[in-house]
Symmetry: C2
Subunit: 344 residues, 2 copies
Amino acid sequence: MPPPGKTRPTSRDVAREAGVSQASVSLVMGGKWQGRISAPTAERVREAARSLGYRPNLAARNLRTGRTRTVLLVVPSLTTHFFAGVHTGAARVAAAHGFSIVLYPSPAGVGPARDPFASAPAALDGVLASSMAAQALTVLRGDRLPLVMLDSEPHTSPGAATVNLDIADGVRRVAGHLLGLGHRRFLHLRADVPSWTFGQRARALEARLAEARDATLATAVSPMTAEGGRAAVEAALTAPGPRPTAVVCDDDLLAVGAYKAARRLGLRIPRDLSVTGVDDQVLAVALEPELTTVRLDAELTGERGMEALLSVIDGRAPVTHDIPVDLVVRGSTAPPPPPLAAAP
Amino acid sequence: MPPPGKTRPTSRDVAREAGVSQASVSLVMGGKWQGRISAPTAERVREAARSLGYRPNLAARNLRTGRTRTVLLVVPSLTTHFFAGVHTGAARVAAAHGFSIVLYPSPAGVGPARDPFASAPAALDGVLASSMAAQALTVLRGDRLPLVMLDSEPHTSPGAATVNLDIADGVRRVAGHLLGLGHRRFLHLRADVPSWTFGQRARALEARLAEARDATLATAVSPMTAEGGRAAVEAALTAPGPRPTAVVCDDDLLAVGAYKAARRLGLRIPRDLSVTGVDDQVLAVALEPELTTVRLDAELTGERGMEALLSVIDGRAPVTHDIPVDLVVRGSTAPPPPPLAAAP
DNA sequence: ACGCTCACGTTATACGTAAAACGGAGGAGC
DNA sequence: GCTCCTCCGTTTTACGTATAACGTGAGCGT
């Protein structure tokens, strides 16, 4: 269909073919010909474009309009279930508005000091950033690009919209649930990832447990892998002193490690040990027993974030969204075993 | 740092500041000033650029050079473990070469008929496409863009590189492993996804089992979810006639469903039923017992694919890569239970 | 018959950059 | 003293599009 000449046809070629000016082609292809171009002429242009296989040159359009209809999504890792979901939701909204998403390739975690633009990604209209420290904000704002932060440290920068996931509340409810079951000795399995969100979870757990005056909290730190979680929990559970009866994990993936540790130590879940996670991935129901966890709606987060970003790009005032978080109680939590002293 | 004037500084502004021409700025910023600009002048330009906070306008550069250093990655879904890995690998290579990746937002699976360019994504230098039918190829080739296919139907199009994952071989090895254990009645849990790769798996399994003259194969089809897999397997295992002793699943996720079905039917894995998957996700080791599965190296696939694409973009001849596939034997496979007739 | 509006296009320009084509000055060679 | 390089830049042009500014002829009221 395209002419044997190797270069792509331009709007001028279409204009010549249709017997109109280049400007008319631009108007018709841009869909803004209402009352400027007659219907028959518009149809002739479209026909010419079709026969030549014309496709507008996006680079030229971007230069001319100063817009690219492309946004950057900054996430630590796509292999993390949550961020993949965020992308899915964001992509859905973006596609509906004719926007493309460029993913920032973030080598091993987005630290505060990294400059997402160092590697000069494509020309952008805005940025959607996940789990960032407030400090990173200043770097990002340096470009005065529309910016939306997801599940990130609260900040006071004007003009930046945010989408909050109240994971702290989820963690509080986990703690409340376990306290209600009678647990008093807790282990927090914390992800060894320099992301604001994990610090927030730790603080929420500490605060909630502090309310119950007799609760104790130990902390184990692990890289975000099942094997790391197993090692950390196994070490913590075999340490001297009274053993924790509940393990609160920063993520479902870490909970898998807790399950493995329990199995190796001969502890049964939930009879001997209660375990909880965060995220509610497929993993949570693959485990046996199924995992009590905090459900995060990643796709909704991505959708709301992209909506907020598009609205900032369109010049509307930045808004703040809150995404609800759910406690999903399944089979991995139960009352703690009776203290040894109480045995007959 | 940027001037109070709201528009971004251009190369002309930098030129004025440094007392040189715009062309010199372009040369210096482009790094091609060897022997054309003196070192002190180049330094003066860089200093001016720094003080103004100058960043080249990518849209203008793209228009001028006809290149965008941006490629499109077409995958059915990022929430699928495998494709997230492909992206990770591809992104690593892309970043190392200063390329950005745009993800094609593919609503519910990329069918052969879909045109990835219908929604006009950003200007592109090439396309990396996963699990496509050969038919889709012609659509993609319509744009004469450099193209690399991953794990896709063999084709004869000249100029398109491919990265093959020999999953068929993996499935054959699974079948051989199970036959060796003594299994003869098989159930294939097939993913209800219109992707070439799943058809290939089915054919490979059929062919391998046909070699063992006395083996029988039933097929259950399920959407790619754990719950769907459970329902399909439960139905298949309770159907009249001799019960299969081994379930070969198209994906680890479906194997989760097989585990759940087995549990509900009171069958123990692997004593009463052997189960296998494909992919070797975290899921595989989260299951109890751990899953025997075909390991796919998604990141390597993405890396090789992106390397091949970049080399085609650079005008080198397209190459074909083969990614090795491994059978990982874990605890979910064992000899079949003795036939009832053999019981005392 | 004159000006006005309206419907339908066209002409001209700018976006910011890369790079080809074009000097000018200061030596080297003879 | 003349040419010829070499070094260090500059001038100029083109990329393909969107859009502001500008006709132009027909219809119409007076």
